[in-house]
Every structure is written in structure tokens, then in C-alpha cells.
Symmetry: C2
Amino acid sequence: MSVRYELIAQCPETGARAGLLHTPRGTFKTPIFMPVGTQATVKTMTPEELQDLGAEIILSNTYHLYMRPGEALVKEAGGLHRFMNWPRGILTDSGGFQVFSLGPLRKITEEGVSFKSHIDGSQHFFSPEKVMQIQMDLGADIIMAFDECPPHPSTWEYARNSLDVTLRWARRCQQAHHREGQALFGITQGGMYADLRRESAQRFVEMDFPGYGIGGLSVGEPKPLMYEMLDVTVPELPANKPRYLMGVGSPDCLLEGVARGVDMFDCVLPTRVARNGLAMTSTGKVVIRNAQYARDFEPLDPNCSCSTCRNYSRAYLRHLYKAEEILAYRLLTMHNLHMLLQLMRDMRQAIIDGSFVAFKKSFLARYGQESQE
Amino acid sequence: MSVRYELIAQCPETGARAGLLHTPRGTFKTPIFMPVGTQATVKTMTPEELQDLGAEIILSNTYHLYMRPGEALVKEAGGLHRFMNWPRGILTDSGGFQVFSLGPLRKITEEGVSFKSHIDGSQHFFSPEKVMQIQMDLGADIIMAFDECPPHPSTWEYARNSLDVTLRWARRCQQAHHREGQALFGITQGGMYADLRRESAQRFVEMDFPGYGIGGLSVGEPKPLMYEMLDVTVPELPANKPRYLMGVGSPDCLLEGVARGVDMFDCVLPTRVARNGLAMTSTGKVVIRNAQYARDFEPLDPNCSCSTCRNYSRAYLRHLYKAEEILAYRLLTMHNLHMLLQLMRDMRQAIIDGSFVAFKKSFLARYGQESQE
């Protein structure tokens, strides 16, 4: 098997677990956060900087790379790692979430999904087989089965039907996938219905994937509902396989996800909010354009060891942001990614030390209650 | 004196000279190119990256920093070096060129220039004394006297009058300037008239500045005319002072400027064209969006040792540029700055080795004839 999960330590009070994800590209420490590099680049960052931050695996988007520059070109370049000069892990998503987000621009049938390009309006078709071909050509270390991601809210009937379609597509993905050294994960769905979540997880486990995505969450539902869905899904998943909560990246959700036994996360949040001038710090969010920082010559987060906090003041960051300088986006992205990657490392250490519950409580007390972002 | 020029070697056939510029902030090797950091940042770059490229001194803009964030804030931050975390040399321009570029938004009198902000339309006034105060507060290592930069074309009468105003303002700048360890350079003018250029240079030399800017060139005139103006100006300037050709940065102009005895240059060209997808390479310009590079997996410039050329292909750079990714602007800026800084180092070595004329000829033959950018 191309990816193997090894359990290292478990929190005695929660489901939190520290582990190792062995892949042909190296061994990654879990729980892990994967920065998102939608278009074969984590926005504003070089691969060297990501490595310096300790990022071990990044996510890139099948839909976007299929559209531009096209998987054939990436394959010709020697695969995605070589194209973007990133030597560590890459996971590509299934394209399902992006395609379904197109709304009226797409049409779903049993065979697959036809949709129009967000770039030039041209007509395209994604089937499970096509999505496997694209992801095999891109050559990521972990790829995801093509899924239907039901919108929120959806009726039970819609979610139930969607679950069945996703399972049939997952089987076709397994049959079509044949790239050595590349792991294919399934994506459990089930909308916001506990019975469907349970059933989806059980039926995916029967299909024996090397890892399981938990999809269709963080789509606008209240956080407690997301946690409830995790509470019913994770116990159905095998202990010897990694669990990946897709599209989640706010610090409180990472803590709650890890507490429920999730091992992997990805989200555009830290990089996207950075470009909107928002920094995640150990004591909560900082909106850098605010006038209160105009003459604040302290670092963004005095408790942070990232290069932004070591070298620049809030006043300088505010100036750069207001002057619309690219360096502002770079420095805030750097900080936010460091913050989340460090949070994952701290959680892992706390799990190993047996102090996860105390760590979680103390972190949340300092960071403050966070609303949906 | 806060800045001292030391001549190291001279080309026997041209006016090209290799020297050292001793400043309280360190000794810089000339001829030198100063990357432009208009708003207290060289666009897209960190100070660490600039240091890695070997940049020794950068230029920042008095007008822009006065407008935003204001010189009082920069002073409070401990000066411009500390505000932007740049430990090496900084030169601030006089604001003259920016203010005169405002056209109908400004009005010139003997006392100074009143103008409207390009940001919010508010009313402002720059006098020689005000410009000195701003530059003293910013705290650069080298500052420039306030000058009137005549537009091109200008009549002889306009240029003559402008020359006189600039001289009277320069005297007021000398009287107002009193920051230790900071050198005040004069700016010679004279439009496109040889007699006025000569006179301006002579009268500035009489005022004994530690260095001389050559202003009002590269304002739209043909390159041969600019070279002609240099030919009449430089011989009037003393051999023991640095000469600084303002706003010039295309490779051919740098070579021709150095050949005429210029020691210092600055220009937004390498950074600005980079953000428009244009790379300067050893064999000429590369417009990275061109379809011919879509599947070109070679480096931007196989003869270049910069990190962009060591790590990325033209195909990847084209993809990033077309996808409007910030990394495209970063990687092209990095390359262009490296290219110009390396060109200056190569010129300096050729002067020392006695091979400047051959170097210039061979470089221009490879680079190709360049039109005005």
C-alpha cells in the first residue's frame, strides 16, 4: 500500500491521536495541516518558504489545474512536484467540490458532471474515470475519489441519493486508478444527517481505501452541527487509516477536529484571510488595517517565532497593507501559515505528552471564541 | 564628510570607473544599481531577498513616504532603515520629480511647489526646507536636494529659468540640512541643452556637494540625446565625487552611462516590467505570457544563477503569470534585479580587468538593441 498510517499516541480523554503517515514521498507527522496551492502555488509563497515553515504536504486543486495549465502540460513537465518545484507531499482533491460550487453552470447525471469553465465558459465533462486520469497525470501522492458534495441545506432524500451516487463513483474510481505509489482516498458524505453519515462511512470502509476524507462539511452549517457529524462519522472509520476533514482550517475547528480523531486538514482560510489583512495570533485575530496599529511598533504576535514577527512591526505591516504592497500579503500569509502549522505541532506534542485537553482549553481561552469565517 | 568616493580603477578608453562609496552604513562598490523601494518596500521583495541578491543600497521616495505613512511615523519607528528592516544603504530622492509629474495638480513659485495628493486630493506644499525636514526625518544615508525637473520638451528659456530656481533651492537645502552622517547630493539639470547642462554642473560643483545627481534625463527624450547630455555634464563633475544618473535602468543605458563615467543609477524598470511579465535575460527580453513558452521547460535564462532560473521553468512562470499568481511577480522581479545587479558587478570587474570596452560590446551584441522602455 502506498500510504500507511501509524498510530503513535492517543489522548485518553478525547479521540485525539498523534501518528505518522508513511508515503513514498516521506513520512508526515499527524495531525497535519495542508496549506492549499490551488493553481500549483500556495498563494504568495515559494516552495522554499513553505519548507522553512515546516509544511510537509500541500493540497492542489484538480479542477483548477485541469483548466489551467491542463494536466497534459503538468505531466509533460514531469508531474506536479517537478512543475512547481515542491519536493514534499502533495494531495489533489477530487474536483467535486469545485464543480458542484459552479451551481447553475453544471449538470449531474449518473455518468458524471457536465459543466462550464469559470475562465472561458467552455463546456467540460468530469466522470470518475476522467478525474482519475487527471489526478494520475498530475501525479500527487494522495488523490481523492470523485464525489458529489451536496449543498447545505439539503433534504434527507437528496443527501441519501447523493451518498449512493458518490459510492458508485468511488467504485469506478477504484477500478480506473492504477498509478503506483499514489494513494486513492474515498470521501464519505451524508449531508447533515447522522444516519447517512454513519452509513456512508460504513460503506466506504467496506471498500477498503488507504484513507478516508470526510467531505461536505464546513459548507455553511453551524460549527456544533459539523462537530456532531464528526462525532458520528469518525467512530465508523478504522483506527489504522488516516482521516481527513476537508476544507477546515480555523484554529478552533482544528482543535475540535483533532479532539474527534481527525488526522488531516486543508483550508484556504489562513492564506485567503492574510490577503485580506487578517492575522491569526495566539491571542486572537488582528485586523491589520485598523487605525489602532498605525503607531504600534510591536510584532504582530509577540509569542510567535515566524520571520514576520521576528522582523516587522504592526505599524509597518499596516502601512504595507494600506499601500496595497504585495509584501503585506506575503508577510501575513507567512505568519498565518506558521501559526497553523505550529498549532498542529503543538497539538501533536500535547497528545504525546498526555496534555491535549489542557492544551486545547488554554489555547481556546487565549484565542477567544471564533465565529464562522 | 558623511560620504566619500574612492576611485579604484578607470577604463583607459572610456570614462568608465570602478570605485568605492564609503558611507556610515558601509562601503558600496560602484558602479552600482539601486533597486527602487517607493513605499518603503522594493515591490514583491523582502529585505532578506534583496541582501541575498547583493543589493547594497536602495532608493525610496520622499513624496510617497511623506504622503503615506508620513515621515513623522517613520521617524517614530526609528527611521526608514528600522521601519522596513533594511540594514544597508538607503537614498531618498528629492520628491521633485514626483511633484512635477503631477502636472496640473501642482503650482510652482520661488518659495516652492503647492500640489494635491494623488491619494486623496488634499493640498500640500513642498519647499526646499520642507523637503530637507522630511528627508532628515526619514533618515536615509544619502538624500537629494529639492529640484525642479523641467518636462521634455522644454524651451531653452524654461530650462534656463528652471536651472536657476533649482540652484537657489539647492542653496536653501544646504542651509536647512543638518543631520549628521547623512549626505546631501545636489541635482544638476539643464533640460536637453548642452550649454545649460554644462553651466548647471559647474555651478553645482562650486557649491561643493559630496555627490551629484544628474536629473531631468530619461524623461522621454531619444537615448542618443541623453548620452549627449551625459557627455557634456560628466566632464564638469569632480573626479573625487560620485555621479548619479537618476531614473535609468535598462541594461544598454546602464552600460552607456557607466562608459560615460556615471557611478550610481536607480530605476523602477526591472521591478515594474517584471510585474508586467517581462524578463531581462542575457540574450534579450522574454515576454513570459507568449504562447511559445507554454511547454518550454528550460529556465528563463540558462546563463543566470538566480534562484528563479535555478528552480523554475519558463512554462511554470508562464502558468503563474497567466493565472495572475503573486509568485509570478516575485520570481520575475527576483530575476530582473539579479540580472541588473550582476551586470553592475560584471561591469565593475571588467573595468578593473581593463576589458570594459570588450565586455560592453559583447553584452550588447547578445542582449540586442533595446528600444526605449
